[in-house]
Symmetry: C2
């Protein structure tokens, strides 16, 4: 099978009259035949080291890309190197590069206006915009959350979700009383009671964005937070699970119980100092912080704690949402009795925004508002993306391809335990740990030069964030290449 | 002249076999002939009251729009009403609706990829992206600010500009010392010294966005701020000028001196309580807060105060930028010796972002970062917008058309002083006050039903925010209609 793959790559290589950096694949995984993604390439094709001569390296830039030539799961750089992309622009490309359905959408004359006439959506929406939301976001709304608002990006989504929660909490406290003159005046100068001393509780290792409100709940890396003034909001520990999970059942349960207890203690402790925890924010899988998982039971109990203390429960699905975990929303794995109160999204959804329960609806217009409030052109793209996801059953595909990937990673872990540990994942949302930062970065660089783009997270993890059209054969293709890398790693 | 206009409208009306709500125009202004905007409509055309039967009113929504039929300066609603748009989606449509140059841009096959393959711009930029920035944003960079970063919206732009300023300030304080372990650890839990107690000084009446950092500097309306926790940052008074300016020279100078003195006092007072003012943020014209102007001299002195106290000087050009004041950036009117340190933009620029001095460049990658960091498709549109602006000399047009508008408004003020006062403006960025909120809103509603979309600001002002292709004849068209409204106002 591997040789089939190799010969296909070589023939492709010969056709292109270019140099291909491949060698004998040692991995035992099958190289599943490419099936039904017609616009995808056949495999990686490397012409130079990456970043290559045409990629000028400027600070954070990895390399410069040729997006016109990028297709499906393959990212092409300016030097003509074609790489299997398992990072997909920090998890933000839903159905691959240059998807024919999206090209077609752009070519339809009736869609032009949406791309060039951007409205102030909150006051002057386009005709049928609510119908269009029904075709797109509302068709995939998490159960129990019938309301949606769009925003421009993930940070704005969380910022505005916090505001929604604070308004909801204050209205609860206010009861039937009217807003006082003192509130209206004091809020103008940033003081209580108009600006109450409310807080969002977040978790160590979490990432929710980098604007001021978000950043006060982000605790993944110092580089995000250093030198930026912040808010004294409570931070709970996130469980640090031991792997393999089946060998540490009791220890992991204890760890989760410890973290949940700390959440309750913090809520009480902060209330004592007159700082009210109005909401709890959490990622279903802490992504930027290192792909940290907790059990479904942990999240169910956390939801119960939120309800018990009257706090809103905000699930940040900016990175986990959109189908990659094998369900459209990662929190759907938990089997909550009472839905989350607010769920934020962005990235693969192409537009930012949040879903929320009816009772969180702002009690007056203009309370949650900005000039653009999202972008109908992104919603147009998203509607098409969702049609493709449904038509091609891509959520189940993510579950299936994820299983192939995870199985292969577990196998590699068994063979290279000194390099790979704590293999974990849901759907294609997989990851593993390496011994340290230097090894991790070296593996990413080598993989890139073998035609595979990987991303890091936490201090020594590698995360997989392929598109939703990542299939079993892509998993095997990767596993073959990575197996060789590990076998030759010094 | 007015009759020419009327007959043109009527013939247009007859052609369309629809009902036109016009009557004899009393304004003495000439109705300049329509000149060179080929894709613009001839004038308003009203078929129903607005919002009409097909516009379902939902909270903040004014009416639903037919953007496909909207052209040039005219916004068409779902009931087929065509209105001269002097608000242009809260000042965010640069060269009118459905501009042929933008349609052409969308139709070019080589541009498709940019609209469907959105990159993580900070790590994987498209080929030639820096060249493309030179064609767009950098071709209009304010003098002395050679660096630019793009963001998704105005709020993100200000949030990140604040961060840039705080990092710069801390690095200044740090000198040659390295970041300490204590800083790295404390920042992870939102505490000093890693999260220092820095502040941005803002002005009462200012509006800089609604995310947490921005909102702490926004002080225009209580509805924006109520129930949202905030930061104890200093707020200075913004001058309240008396009009006509020539009659109150001394009073206005004293008022500006008082505000500047308060700025210095606040910086000193906050430093005494260990809260360091790292930067000052100001709009060239306070927009949302009521179109409040100050003299060029005020801003020059404020810039001097910022320098004297080691604070960064941040000019928020989100609403004023892009040419509407008769210069590309409103702060160019001031004639600063030392440029502003950071200038933020969004709206008419189609992408958010900020320009900054070289010395404000972050000292490490990923310090100012997010997944998308703007959107190359918006930059593509902006590059074309800037080509149109230059080709059609639209900045000078804004100065010229603005003069026609302002002259007409001053004339109306002279004739209807009980309805119109404090007429003011720069370029087409004009406004006037009405006696009160109710009168203002009534005038806006009547104007809408006569085919003119206006926007309010502050507690009783009407602001003009037309596109850059708003010409003298549009000004006269508006003045004629509004003159009739004022004459008949009860």
């Amino acid at each position: 099978m591997a040789s089939m793959l190799l010969s296909r790559q070589l023939s492709c290589c010969l056709q292109q009259n270019s140099r291909l950096l491949v060698f004998g694949h040692r991995y035992i995984s099958q190289a599943a035949a490419k099936i039904d993604v017609d616009f995808d390439y056949d495999g990686p094709l490397m012409k130079t080291e990456v970043p290559g001569p045409r990629s000028r390296n400027a600070e954070a830039v990895h390399f410069f890309c040729n997006y016109e030539e990028s297709r499906g799961n393959y990212l092409v750089d300016v030097d003509g190197n074609r790489m299997l992309d398992l990072y997909s622009q920090i998890s933000s490309i839903p159905i691959g590069y240059s998807h024919p359905s999206l090209i077609k959408l752009l070519q339809q004359p009736q869609n032009l206006s949406t791309f060039i006439n951007r409205p102030a959506l909150g006051i002057l929406p386009p005709e049928n915009f609510s119908e269009r939301l029904k075709e797109s976001l509302l068709s995939v709304a998490p159960k129990g959350l019938p309301q949606v608002m769009t925003m421009a990006c993930g940070s704005c989504s969380n910022e505005n979700a916090f505001k929604l929660i604070f308004m909801w909490y204050r209205n609860k406290e206010r009861g039937r009383n009217n807003v006082t003159k003192e509130e209206l005046e004091s809020c103008m100068i940033n003081q209580p009671p108009g600006c109450p001393d409310y807080a969002m509780l977040s978790f160590m290792g979490g990432f929710h964005g980098r604007t001021f409100g978000c950043l006060a709940t982000t605790h993944s890396k110092a580089i995000h937070k250093l030198d930026i003034p912040s808010l004294d909001w409570p931070i709970a520990p996130f469980p640090r699970l031991k792997y393999p999970l089946e060998d540490f059942v009791k220890e992991n349960q204890q760890e989760e119980a410890r973290c949940l207890e700390e959440v309750e203690d913090l809520i009480v402790k902060y209330r004592k100092k007159k700082k009210i925890v109005a909401g709890i924010i959490i990622e279903p899988i802490q992504s930027e912080g290192g792909d940290n998982h907790a059990s479904d039971d942990f999240f169910r109990k956390l939801r119960d704690i939120a309800r018990k203390h009257g706090c809103a429960f905000l699930v940040d699905e900016v990175q986990t949402g959109g189908g990659c975990t094998g369900k459209f929303w990662a929190h759907e794995h938990w089997g909550l009795d009472d839905p989350a109160d607010v769920v934020t999204f962005s990235k693969k959804m192409m537009t930012g925004g949040f879903f929320h329960k009816e009772e969180f609806r702002p009690n007056a217009p203009y309370r949650i508002f900005n000039t653009w409030l999202g972008d109908p052109s992104k919603n147009l793209l998203l509607a098409e993306v969702i049609r493709v996801i449904k038509r091609e059953d891509l959520i189940n595909n993510a579950a299936h391809a994820g299983k192939a990937l995870l199985t292969g990673l577990l196998d590699l872990q068994a063979r290279y335990p000194h390099l790979i540990s704590r293999v974990r994942g849901r759907g294609t949302f997989c990851s593993f740990d390496t011994p340290n930062d230097a090894t991790r970065n070296k593996l990413i660089t080598i993989a890139r030069n073998k035609g595979v783009v990987l991303g890091g997270c936490g201090d020594r993890s590698i995360r997989f964030r392929p598109t939703l059209i990542f299939k079993d054969h892509h998993a095997h293709l990767f596993l073959n290449i990575f197996s060789d890398i590990l076998a030759n790693f010094k």
